[in-house]
Each structure stands twice: as C-alpha cells, then as structure tokens.
Point group: C2
Chain length 152, copies 2
DNA sequence: CTCTAATTGATACTTGATATCAATAAATGT
DNA sequence: ACATTTATTGATATCAAGTATCAATTAGAG
C-alpha cells in the first residue's frame, strides 16, 4: 500500500508508478528522472520543454499517474497552469513564493486541530482541505532583482 | 475606500464597479444583476450561457473587475474553470462541496492564529494565505441522487 | 522468441480565456 | 440639446492548457 520511501523521506517516483501496476518504460523514466533532478515545483509545460523527446501526452499522463499515486502534489495557481511538487511528507501544506514561485512544505498540527473545531460549525461532512501560505521567500527578500523563474 | 454594503452584508456589485471609476453600462448591469440573482458560486461560462446577449469578453472583463474590487472571490478548482462567489464578509475561507460544487464561507480566528505561529517556522515573509475545506454538504448527504450542478 | 496488452506520440481537438479593433454608448462641457 | 471625448462593447481571431484518437512501438509474460 505505502509507496517506497527513499532516504530523503520522499517517495521514489518510478516505484510509485510500478506500485500502481504501470510498466517501467523509457519515457516514464525520463519524466520521473527529470522531476527528481529538479528541486523546485514545476509545471507540465516545464517538463515538456525539458524533455523534447517525450511526447506531450506522455508527460501529462505520467504526471497524472504520479498525482493519483500521491507522489506529486498538484497546486492550483490562481492564474495559469498548476504547479507540481514532490510530496515529501505524508500530510502537509504549501508555501508559495509570490515573487519566484518557489514551493515549500510545512506541517502544523494546529491546522488539523482547526479543522476538528470547525466540524460543528460546518454544514456537512468534511472530506478534505487545502491550505497555502503565500510568502516572499528568503532568497527573494535578499535579492531585489529576482525574476520569476516560471517564465511565460 | 470600503465598497458599499447592502443589508445582507455583501457588497453591492454595481457600486463596487462604480467605486473603481468604471461606467455603469447595460452589459455590466446584466452581469452584476445575474450574479446577485444566483445564490451559488458560478463559473464564467455559466454567466455566458445565462446572458447570451452579453459578449463573452465583457463577461470575463466584468468578472475580473469584480475580483480586483474584492467583491468576488476567485476559487481555483483542481480541474477546470475557477468558480466565483460573492465575498460576503471581509476575510474568510471557503467550503466547497465535492459532490454538487456548492460554495460556503467560514471565518475562524484560529486560522489566523495558526498563521502567526507559523511565522517563525517559515523561511520568508507571509504575504497571504488561502484555505479551502472540502465537504459533502447537508443537501448532498440527504440526497443520494444529487447531480453535479455545474454541468460540463 | 512469441505473443499480447500496455504504452507511445503525432495530430487533431476541446476548453477557458485574452487580444484586436471598428462600432457604439456614456459622460462632460457648451 | 448637441458636439466632443473617452470608455466600453462584442465579433472575431488567437492563445494556452490539456485531452482524445489511433496506428506504430515496446514491455513483460510465457
Ligand atoms: Zn506537497
Ligand atoms: Zn522567492
Ligand atoms: Zn453538495
Ligand atoms: Zn484567513
């Protein structure tokens, strides 16, 4: 059930696919390899550009498998394409730098406690939640000349 | 500075536009009127369908103005077009029914307290946040035959 | 090595949204 | 009321993100 965990604590992406009964192919290895090489969150188009020899459809399909497997988090961005980041710990939330797009993770038990206390107040059954904190990251605070990494 | 407030506590949409120096036109009144008539969150395409005599560009432009004015909340949905809902109170978060798409609002001071306590932990300056709770709403719990309202 | 089912990727298409720009309508001043 | 100016409109073209199709290829089982 639980996917393989590598030293860093994050899920091994190829194994995550294999665990779902998917074949190990060159195209999928190219995609997972590239994602693991990246340290930051990325968009599907980023990957397509980085991997011109892998078809767009395959890039999108592989990302979808990884999200379904829980190995990638899909972060809806207010305008434009969603970003993806490797899910390094089990349950967490994200920080997103509004200047450079860098994505971080945080865990805070209080967030979950808030949910439990809201259960009374909310007119229905809670089935999930999402929280993002928008920040100006340390790097961007120190660099007045920062440019959006995700060039569009 | 603060936009006009009507009895219900929500912002009057036409006034919100006027407050931004925009002209009061028939097309804009049609859009704001329709939004106020709707009780639920909606997509841009919903409005276009409901208002065939208003050009798509105008519908999208008017929505953008209303979001900029803070009169509408834009809710990024994981797949597909964002939904919009009237901002009824100043600062709040949203519940989204995963079955029917109904959007609600909630306020909880603990959420804001969590943020303050995270300030130490987060590597940068917090500039904003977003939280959504996914629910099965009361109506959907009682109705096994519920159909997604947002037909696609 | 063979066979079968899964996978790939070029292409066409869909959807959501924006840019263009001539025609129209709102505000302003006379 | 009328002329002038400027904002607005909306048909159309275009863009962007992502999916469907499907013949050709390839992985994995036997
Ligand atoms: Zn994550
Ligand atoms: Zn940054
Ligand atoms: Zn519901
Ligand atoms: Zn809040």
């Amino acid at each position: 059930m639980a996917a393989s965990i590598v030293e860093s604590g994050s899920i091994d992406l190829s194994n995550a696919l294999e665990d779902r009964g998917l074949r190990r192919t060159a195209a999928r290895s190219a995609v997972t390899g590239r994602i693991e090489q990246l340290n930051d969150a990325f968009t599907a188009e980023n990957l397509c550009r980085d991997l011109p020899d892998v078809g767009r459809a395959t890039v999108y399909r592989t990302i979808r498998h990884l999200v379904d497997a829980g190995a990638l988090c899909k972060l809806p961005i207010l305008d434009g394409a969603p970003m993806y980041s490797i899910a390094r710990v089990d349950h967490h939330h994200h920080t997103i730098c509004v200047r450079c797009g860098a994505v971080g993770e945080f865990r805070h038990s209080t967030v979950e406690r808030v949910l439990r206390s809201l259960e009374k107040e909310i007119d229905g059954d809670i089935v999930g939640h999402r929280m993002e904190i928008f920040i100006t990251c340390r790097a961007c605070l120190g660099d007045q000349h920062a440019i959006k990494k995700t060039s569009r």
